[in-house]
């Protein structure tokens, strides 16, 4: 899995390509923590390049969301979530009545959230 980070005026874009499992999740966690530790807590996570994500990846998303929400208007939003991963997030209860993440089906809309 490859992770890249791009700074925008109002938010940061994190893009991951490949598979997130217990082996690769620490790399994603490092990228997210680096942002939050630098006071960047408005994050768009572009998931369009992901083939797979296990609960290890979901745990990274939850802990990042928790860290970001401590700050004023801090938040992680998800963009272009692939179908199978969407179903897994749904199964995990992330997208229920009070969803843990806002979802956008395209990148401009997700970036425009902030």
């Amino acid at each position: 899995m490859e992770v890249t980070t791009q700074n925008f005026k109002r938010c940061d874009l994190v893009q991951a390509v490949g598979r997130v499992d217990s082996y690769t999740a620490p790399t994603l966690a490092e990228a997210m923590e680096a942002l939050v530790n630098n006071g960047r807590y408005r994050i768009v996570f572009d998931m369009s390049g992901l083939e797979y994500m296990s609960s290890a990846g979901m745990r990274v998303l939850i802990s990042t969301q928790r860290a970001c929400k401590r700050f004023n208007r801090g938040e992680v939003v998800l963009a272009v979530v692939p179908q199978r991963i969407y179903e897994a997030l749904e199964l995990a209860g992330f997208l229920g009545n009070s969803p843990l993440f806002k979802l956008y089906d395209n990148l401009p809309a997700a970036i425009g959230h902030f």
Binding site: D21, Y52, A56, M58, Q65
Partner: protein
């Protein structure tokens, strides 16, 4: 990775086995192994994904809980095809760890209160039709067996 399962049709009477060391880098091999068999027997893409994810979560739990971390300990993944289902059995020789005794995560609590643990097990039970566990302490080395069943037509 043993390549004998990479060619030829899947036979229903046979059990296919992949043994990997208890390391996270091997999760991908386990997913490919069970995914390949599920595809070969014509399971729908959604079911293929389900068995891959369930096997991944199960192996992650074995590494984390039964073996207490990564190491050169074996995880044996057996796949058996029956007329009705794909049966996945995962054997390890670590501490007895009964996933079914772990409480389900509370998905209704807020993000701040939510405990990260238990999610993998919760997903395994959601993704598969049956999940059961047996522990054989009398065997040397002791044997934990996690059995997961996915019906072929869902």
């Amino acid at each position: 990775m043993n390549a004998d399962f990479l060619s030829g049709p899947i036979e229903e009477s046979k059990t296919y086995c992949l043994t990997v060391a208890a390391r996270y880098e091997n999760l991908n091999s386990v997913r490919e192994f069970v995914g390949w068999i599920a595809e070969q027997i014509g399971m729908a893409p959604k079911s293929v994904f389900a068995v891959q994810m369930a096997a991944d979560e199960a192996c992650t739990n074995i590494i984390e809980h039964a073996y207490g971390g990564e190491g050169d300990y074996p995880i044996e993944c057996f796949c058996q095809v029956t007329p009705q289902a794909l049966v996945i059995r995962l054997h390890d020789h670590g501490e007895p760890f009964n996933p079914l005794e772990v409480a389900e995560p509370d998905l209704t609590v807020s993000l701040e209160e939510r405990d990260n643990g238990g999610l993998g097990l919760f997903l395994m039970r959601k993704l598969m039709d049956e999940v059961s566990f047996t522990f054989r302490p009398s065997d040397l080395p002791s044997d934990n067996i996690l059995t997961m069943v996915k019906r072929r037509t869902a």
